[in-house]
């Protein structure tokens, strides 16, 4: 009796809202067409230029110590680049902290190559006339993880702590607009102007989002990494400046990366 009533109610609703199913079909057609367009554009992804530059940089003897990054340990052993991004962030015993790709790259640049901390942090986000070494190296390292299955481990208590902190920050409302990450990224089918917002609280949303960064951001004309993405989110939330490589940034990255586990890493991506 109850089921029959529900069906009757649903049928009645459909009768009184004839436009709704049509509008929804149109919306998904548009979304499908946009995806087709994105797939076509992906053929000439300028991220490949950063990947090429990063590969040269990785192998080049640089810094006062004049060595390459061949001994850089991204968590899978010295010099092992293949699939390394799928397991980051992770805990590193040599620094005693959880590190993401960008902080680990800077660590290798300063310790192995002797580049000063100040120099390594001088240009973090590239722009017209200025290039970021970290962005190029990140493009190279992540391209070597393309096709790997995301597998961030919470076995280490330090990583677990970072994950918990990241989750807390994700839902923390603050700043002048009382925004949390969840304000924009906590619901399905939302968008800001014409930019669809992934629901990062769902498995599929987190997977689709995390596996497509770093990415060439056409509107920036640059390759951007997760550190940049989080920094820009904080800016949009009217939060104080997110310090590059800060525990807060690594906590959020850990939270998002672990939530993306199981997905195939598809970066470096291409975004508007």
């Amino acid at each position: 009796m109850a089921r029959f009533s529900t069906a009757a109610v649903v049928a009645a609703l459909l009768v009184f809202l004839p436009g709704a199913p049509q509008a929804q079909a149109q919306a998904s057609d548009t979304a499908a067409q946009i995806q087709e367009y994105r797939d076509a554009l992906a053929d000439g992804n300028p991220a490949e230029l950063w990947d090429a530059r990063g590969e040269v940089m990785w192998k080049e003897a640089r810094g006062p110590k004049k060595v390459s990054l061949a001994q850089c340990d991204l968590g899978m052993g010295a010099g092992v680049v293949k699939n390394a991004y799928a397991h980051l962030p992770r805990y590193f015993a040599d620094t005693g902290r959880v590190m993401d790709l960008e902080t680990r790259l800077i660590h290798c640049m300063t310790t192995l190559q002797g580049i000063s901390d100040a120099d390594a942090h001088k240009i973090l986000f590239g722009g017209p006339g200025k290039r970021s070494d970290v962005e190029a190296l990140a493009a190279y390292v992540t391209s070597q993880s393309q096709g790997a299955v995301m597998d961030v481990s919470l076995a280490d208590p330090h990583v677990r702590r970072m994950y918990a902190l990241g989750e807390k920050i994700f839902f923390y409302r603050g700043g002048s607009h009382d925004f949390a990450c969840a304000t924009c990224h906590g619901e399905e089918n939302k968008r800001i102007r014409l930019q669809d917002l992934p629901d990062l609280t769902t498995k599929s949303g987190a997977q689709k989002a995390y596996t497509t960064w770093p990415a060439y951001r056409v509107s920036q004309g640059e390759l951007r990494t997760m550190q940049w993405r989080l920094n820009d989110c904080f800016r949009q939330q009217r939060f104080p400046d997110l310090v590059f490589g800060s525990p807060a940034s690594i906590a959020l990255t850990t939270y998002l990366a672990y939530n993306a586990n199981g997905a195939v890493y598809a970066g470096p991506g291409l975004k508007r």
Binding site: G44, P46, E48, L49, A52, P128, G221
Partner: protein, 103 residues
């Protein structure tokens, strides 16, 4: 020395498909910097492509082409193993030449 291009050339039946990604700022000359000064125009003006020594494409570009241009085209008469050479020259007179072999 300008950045190298990424070139892919493949023989697809009787057509050769070439895809090239060029690294270039492609400034239109219409933008202003943070201080309000016009950023001077700086863009690729000509592209020349040869295959096995013969010209297969020439292009005259203007400021409508965006940053880091991607060019994809097909032509007949090419063969596997042929050398494809691509040269671009920009409005400052800087140029870059790269080559690839048709796979």
């Amino acid at each position: 020395m300008p950045d190298p291009m990424k070139i892919r050339a493949n023989q697809l039946g009787d057509a050769t498909e070439v895809k090239v990604l060029m690294s270039h700022e492609m400034e239109t000359g219409q933008r202003k910097d943070a201080q309000g000064k016009v950023i001077p125009a700086w863009f690729i003006q000509s592209v020349d492509v040869t295959c096995a020594g013969k010209t297969v494409l020439t292009a005259q570009w203007g400021t409508a082409v965006s940053k880091n241009p991607f060019l994809s085209f097909r032509f007949k008469g090419g063969n596997k193993g042929d050398k494809v050479v691509i040269t671009w020259v920009d409005n400052r007179g800087e140029k870059r030449t790269d080559e690839a072999t048709v796979a």
